[in-house]
């Protein structure tokens, strides 16, 4: 039988080598949930460079590692959270002071809208966020540490009412890396939880690489299609990577390990050596984790009880009857 859709499954190393390019605008998720630690560690191992990290609140550990390792030199975000501060306590501060990192500030809402605009193929999208803030002052739009200048946003008049409104440019990541619960081999991605800007970050991107906890038969996906967050035609590669979001978290699979996620400026070199460059892949990472801290620590981060829907939905139809009714209508 002809295979309808070829498999998109490949290893993290293969997918990152093929689909993450130097100089890419990179989206990789929000907060500590669905964060593709396995894929981004692989990008660091492959010494990707000149990346521009975009997203409302990109995972903080990966921001620090990507900046510190020299993989990323730009970012537009609502949060350099936990990374800021002042001299001596913040690697971001040091890199910015040295001119090695440029940034422009947005917010969780505005970046989500900019991704949505790119996904919809519209050139810009209006919002009333940013109004009344100091961000709209010229000296702060053209700030010395930024790189967008007047391309960051524009204060315009609503063409219909004349009221002030902020126009945000559509933002299309060249590549999105993300981690989800499951997919089929064709690349239909299913996820559950609160996605933050994940849905639009991945819809907007030119290339999309998704790692998943489980690869399931396509019949599983097709029996519950509302769970699909991205259809296969948008997906470049699927990577089977259990614990691929760890030390971040994934609903139903594991909680984060805050001791690894929150890195002070002084720990970055050691962390990169031990947990990124020192590991061959994410399975090696997990084995090292268990070796180092013991299985009981990992066990403590796994769900204690299952929380599953109590009511099932019915997608059923009366296909033949509907068809007959249509035929009758023709006569």
């Amino acid at each position: 039988m002809r295979q309808e859709h070829p498999s998109k499954v490949m290893s993290a190393a293969e997918a990152v080598a093929e689909f993450v390019h130097d100089g890419d605008i990179l989206y990789y998720g929000h907060g500590n949930c669905y964060i593709p630690h396995a894929l981004v560690y692989e990008a660091i191992r492959q010494r990707k460079s000149r990346l521009d990290i975009v997203g409302g609140t990109p995972g903080t550990q990966l921001q620090q590692l990507l900046f510190h390792a020299g993989c990323a030199d730009r970012t537009r975000t609502g949060s350099l959270s936990g990374l800021r501060g002042s001299g001596g306590q913040s690697r971001v501060w040091e890199l910015v002071e040295q001119g090695k990192l440029r940034f422009d500030d947005y917010s969780n809402q505005t970046l989500a809208l900019m991704f949505m605009a790119a996904a919809l193929g519209i050139p810009f999208i209006p919002t009333r966020a940013f109004l009344g803030t100091d961000f709209l002052k010229d000296e702060y739009i053209n700030h010395p540490r930024g790189f967008l200048g007047q391309d960051k946003l524009r204060l315009i008049a609503d063409p219909f009412t004349g009221q002030p409104v902020v126009a945000l440019p559509a933002l299309r990541p060249n590549v999105a890396l993300w981690h989800a619960q499951r997919a089929d081999e064709e690349g239909n991605i299913q996820a559950w939880g609160a996605y933050a800007d994940g849905r639009w970050g991945i819809w907007a991107a030119e290339r999309v690489v998704i790692s998943v906890e489980e690869i399931v038969p396509t019949e599983v996906v097709r029996s519950d299609p509302n769970r699909t967050i991205l259809p296969a035609y948008k997906v470049s590669a699927v990577v089977h990577e259990p614990f691929g979001s760890f030390p971040g978290e994934l609903p139903g699979y594991y909680n984060q390990d805050p001791a690894l996620v929150r890195l002070g400026a002084g720990r970055l070199d050691d962390y990169l050596a031990e947990w990124v460059y020192g590991r061959s892949d994410h399975q090696d990472f997990m084995e090292h984790y268990v070796e180092r801290f013991g299985y009981h620590r990992l066990r403590g981060l796994l769900p204690r009880r299952r929380v599953q829907p109590t009511g099932s939905v019915d997608y059923g139809v009366r296909a033949i009857a509907a068809h007959e009714a249509q035929e009758e209508g023709k006569e």
Binding site: T57, G82, W93, A112, A129, G132, T133, G198, R199
Partner: protein
Amino acid sequence: MTPRAPVAERYTRLEMMFVAAAREMAGRGVIFVGMSYPLLAATLAKLHHDPDLHFCTEQGIIDWRPPADLERAPVQVSDPILNIGAAFLGDSVDALGSLLMGGGTDLAILPAAQVDRFGNGNTIAIGDYNRPVRWLGGIGGNMDAACLAKAVMFLVPHERRRFMQRVDFITSPGYIDGPGARRRAGLDPQGANLIVTTLGILRFDTPDGGITGSCEAFLDTIYPGVTVEEFQANTGWPVRISPDLNVLEPPSQEEIDLLRRLDPTHVHLRERGDV
């Protein structure tokens, strides 16, 4: 009249801030709960005062109902504990778009490093943005909520360096620089806004959300054991005092016990320099 609940014997001023904020949330409808302190305050409000509050966060959680066996308040706005018992799980365009931009947020509860006499907040930089003394965590959804929610409650520990004549940088507009300013900027009127601190509650002199009135913050309610002099000494502008100054009921033992139970590892109930 119902008999008064036993009063807590010992409590800190930080705990009093949470207790006061939770009481203020009762009856406020759809609440947008920001990161940090608001998470604990809103959980207390939901459990102790008003089960009908719609507890929402920016990741896409709308109407979280804490499970019966809740062991702790959420630690982050994305805490997976919020997935259990939520009525709606979606994304940021749902929560910060359809809900917030669509006008559905009755009250946003937000942290800020600095606030000022017109109720503006700053979450980005201490000093000049272009030459900062210190950078803060960033905007997150704080700006979005301050621009677009129907009303805002800031939760800010009361220190002089945080309560300013004018914040170093407006990330989160309140009444900006006085009457009419929100409208001139293109924003809707907003209120009744308030700032709940570790010493008392500030409200704003405007009957219509920033169109008329001075729009200045005034001391409306003070906590038991706090003096007006102490409040003034820790506030960076000559603060007006309400002629009908209220003294807040001290916390009940039940409020304090529940608050402490909801934060067993003191994620929220510790003094922090940077929030």
